[in-house]
Amino acid sequence: MTLYMVQRCLFDHLRRLEAAGDGPKPDIVTDGYTLTDEERRAVTEPDIGAIYAMGAHPVIINGFCRALGYKRADYRPLLEQSGAVPARRKTRWQKS
């Protein structure tokens, strides 16, 4: 439905995990969030590349990947292969 709902769903999940502490980790909940089938698939599968391509906030992606137990080396390729890597531009501090 909206990117906001995807992010709300993930953010609330991260807060529930935080509240659970060392106890059993709750599964992600999608009921109550207005999500398309593709959005629901992306958050439950989960499909990190798709979540990134939707435009989810990087702090949420970072937290979600960490909660999944991913190391940087695990999820960087998922983001690189998302098909949504932005083009780079020349900057004033680049010497070369």
Binding site: P58, V59, R72, Y75, V85, R89, R92
Partner: protein, 280 residues
């Protein structure tokens, strides 16, 4: 009236307290050595309270209501929420009178910070603050600024905001010696395809300009260009605000290390306090 007796900006990578030994020893020693110099300066100057600005990490606010700037107004604030940070959880004292005064004076100067009660002070504050005072008794007024969720304030707007913060602190008559601290940056990439990269070229370019007090290019830099140095690098907005509060004076670059194990360019810049700056 209060004097800003010391001011500094420092990186706040969570790993600097969560797992400091993961960095190469020489790099860690250089960075932490700079923070020790800052701590010595705080003792020499007899700082009574600090005002600290750092990026909001969706710790206090979410996308349903995210201010560009928010000031913690309570007598004390709980930190850190991150249990893995290896910093003890504590209600850190603030100075509510100073916080209220800053808020009022910012509004008089044309800025509109959000008013926040119950603000939690996460790694953005606690990593740097814990190195400044590991008893966590030094009062700290927390200010969070939006550095990661567009549309963002520009560096020039943050410089102007910093000028107003400096004016506000200096017009407070409840304290004599206040410190100003900025946490965040330098370059880092979070939750995006370049995660783990550090833009050393940007970091050195930025620090060189702070060291010279030559800020024109920094203040002219549009947001989309700054974003090229990393989506976490926007936290240097707090450093730019601090430079504004110190009238754009040259800072002393005490350390810079690209610590890939902490996925962060790590730097410290210390400014002379008001009296020393006036004598220079």
């Amino acid at each position: 009236m209060a004097e800003i007796v010391m001011a500094y900006s420092a990186s706040h990578a969570p790993m600097m307290t969560a797992d400091p030994g993961s960095a190469p020893r020489e790099k860690a020693e250089n960075f932490f050595g700079a923070l020790e110099k800052v701590r010595d300066r705080a003792k020499e100057t007899g700082v009574q309270a600090i005002v600290m600005m750092t990026g909001e990490h969706l710790t206090n606010f979410f996308l349903d209501g995210l201010p560009q700037i928010a000031i913690g107004l309570d007598e004390e604030h709980l930190g850190p929420p991150e249990v893995w940070l290896q910093v003890p959880k504590k209600m850190v004292p603030s100075d509510a009178g100073l916080a209220a005064h800053i808020t009022e004076k910012l509004i008089e100067q044309g800025h509109q910070p959000a008013l926040s009660h119950g603000m939690k002070i996460d790694h953005g504050f606690m990593t740097v603050y814990y190195w400044l005072d590991n008893t966590m008794e030094l009062p700290m007024v927390p200010i969070v600024v939006n550095c990661t969720t567009p549309p963002l304030m520009t560096t020039r707007q943050f410089y102007d905001f910093g000028v107003a913060i400096g004016n506000a602190i200096r017009s407070y008559d409840g304290l004599e010696r206040v410190g100003l601290v900025a946490g965040g940056g330098l370059s880092h990439f979070v939750g995006e395809p370049r995660v783990g990269d550090i833009d050393e070229e940007f970091d050195r370019w930025f620090l060189e300009r702070l060291g010279k007090g030559d800020l024109d290019e920094i203040l002219d830099m549009p947001n989309d260009e700054l974003a090229e140095a990393g989506n976490g690098t926007g936290e240097i907005r707090a450093w730019v605000a601090l430079a504004g509060a110190m009238h754009g004076a040259p800072g002393h670059v005490l350390a810079y290390e690209a610590v890939y194990e902490w996925i962060n360019g790590m730097g410290v810049v210390l400014y002379d306090g008001d009296q020393a700056a006036a004598q220079a």
